[in-house]
Subunit: 333 residues, 2 copies
């Protein structure tokens, strides 16, 4: 649940890191994500500004304090760190890779509870003065509160119930405008909501009720927010790809050729790498850890890795590309 | 962030698991936690009721749906599952072990951001109509909303700002009364708050600001809630120990001898096992996962395992025992 709502606050100093503390994004080995061949645009900044960037992809910028805490380093990355405050393909990729951890942690936590159908049944919620389910109540109320704190002013945050938001009660923040203004109207959270509750959740958890409706709703919300952030990052991915090679995309945009755009945005090898990494992560983070475990016995996992891989394969990557296509179709408006 | 607020809802059926789905708590190998020697009380139920138990320790009862998802099994545990709906030392232990995962996941997520001092500075928050810091605003507002959903009616949930709660808007839930009524007045969240912000957080994260005050506050809150739940579980631990061997504890309780109680509640070997397991978990969950990692190169970790071990050693286990002592001192009132 990354919530960069205040990253551009005038009272904070985004990315003014202490000496010796280079942003983690700049130290990350460019990994494989559906951004197209790294060579194409990996050093091309989206914005070349002398000011600290106010960009979502720079958000997870803190490297662990300790020397044993780790972010991957590479020569390229060190070079990138000298440019520091620009939005690059590498920085987007780094953010997406970190978001995988949050999504997977959320799935692992949610998986310990049953489905708990009462969480999703408007007739079971019995909340005085509210006509909906417990999960709807929790997400709506949380979004109202986070909106008061300015969360949805950030271009990488998208509410599930935009019609119910309250006005921010913190001073208004100016985010650097790296996206085309049309980006503001792209929000596919309704699709994400349906995919999560109709397709993913019933296969993640055991049927039935254990009474933990509240815990279930909390983890559902964390996963939904992480999925929403990951998928809507497609806006930044698309902008980076477009800036990297505008001539490639312009004809299809002018022709409003969605299929062609989807084709241009698809890199099979990169998607395979994502699947492999997600598999590795579930097999690592999903272990039931016990120091006295017998090495002869297979390590037990909390969820099936294939489920997370399929989530990426069937939903996260396609929906991210759908956001990219929607964005590019409006990119020249 | 387990939130068992509705586990006892009359409309849900706690622990009415589908056929073939035995509660995970009953399939967990009794692991080592500061509950005293397992032999002493591991099969003694706290309540022997034919009704489904409405107890917080039974909450994380869902075993993963798939056969590859895993809970540890043992002969003892299978026997325990036949008793099913009772609160046992084994079920408490299982809950505490799962809570470790949540705490560690939270630390790993928070560690990716800088300290972000503006999150904690009342003068920096500038929230209209609120005289406090951003973290205080977020925790207070979230607790108000969760209170409306009945969270703090559950005996294993403790608010950080009890004076600000709103009335529940869901039908009132009756929790089975396994604790002495005095338990309701034990809440050491102020200590937990101070320990987290004064001692732990500055050592977990890099100094400075990256602008992510909102994300920082979200993960802070998740960790605080997980720590609070873990530490206040001491009430159940103490009740189980007392019921397991009342003669051991009664003289010290009558004499109001806190030191003696602390001594009786301390099992060095068990605490060593906790430290070892926490170390293993951070070394597993904290890995920076990359499928193309070179096995010859040491795996990088997001945080130092020693930090989490010290958190348990210096704060979580002592504060849990402090809750136990507070509880036992009132156990015979």
């Amino acid at each position: 649940m990354e919530l960069p709502m205040d990253k551009a606050s005038p009272r904070s100093t985004p990315l003014s890191l202490p000496a010796g503390a280079a942003p983690a994004v700049a130290h990350q080995t460019p990994a494989s994500l559906p951004l197209g061949p790294p060579a194409a645009a990996s050093t091309k900044p989206l914005v070349a500004s002398a000011n600290p960037p106010l960009l979502p992809v720079m958000a997870p910028a803190a490297a662990p304090k300790s020397s044993s805490g780790a972010v991957e380093e590479s020569k390229d990355a060190v070079e990138e760190s000298n440019k520091s405050n620009v939005l690059t393909i590498g920085s987007i990729r780094s953010a997406l890779i970190k978001q995988e951890d949050t999504i997977i942690f959320g799935l692992l936590e949610r998986s310990q509870f049953c489905y708990n159908p009462d969480t999703y049944d408007p007739n079971a919620s019995r909340i005085v003065g509210f006509n909906g389910s417990q999960i709807e109540f929790m997400v709506q109320q949380t979004e109202k509160m986070h909106a008061m704190m300015g969360r949805y002013k950030s271009p990488d945050e998208h509410p599930f119930f935009p019609e119910n938001l309250l006005e921010a009660v913190v001073p208004s923040v100016e985010y650097e405008n790296v996206l085309h203004p049309a980006a503001a109207n792209i929000n596919i959270n309704k699709r994400i909501w349906d995919v999560y509750f109709d397709d993913l959740l019933p296969r993640l958890v055991m049927e039935g009720s254990d009474g933990n409706c509240g815990s279930s709703a909390c983890w559902d919300m964390l996963i939904l927010q992480a999925l929403s952030k990951r998928i809507h990052y497609g806006k930044f991915v698309a902008e980076a790809k477009f800036q990297g090679s505008p001539d490639t995309y312009t004809p299809a945009i002018i022709n409003k050729d969605s299929d062609k755009l989807m084709d241009l945005l698809t890199f099979t090898k990169v998607e395979e790498d994502v699947r492999a990494r997600v598999m590795s992560k579930v097999m690592t983070f999903g272990q039931v850890v016990s120091p006295e475990a017998d090495p002869a016995i297979e390590t037990k996992l909390k969820i099936e890795p294939e489920l997370a891989v399929e989530l990426y394969d069937k939903w996260i990557m396609p929906l991210t590309k759908e956001v990219q296509v929607q964005y590019l179709l409006k990119r020249l408006d």
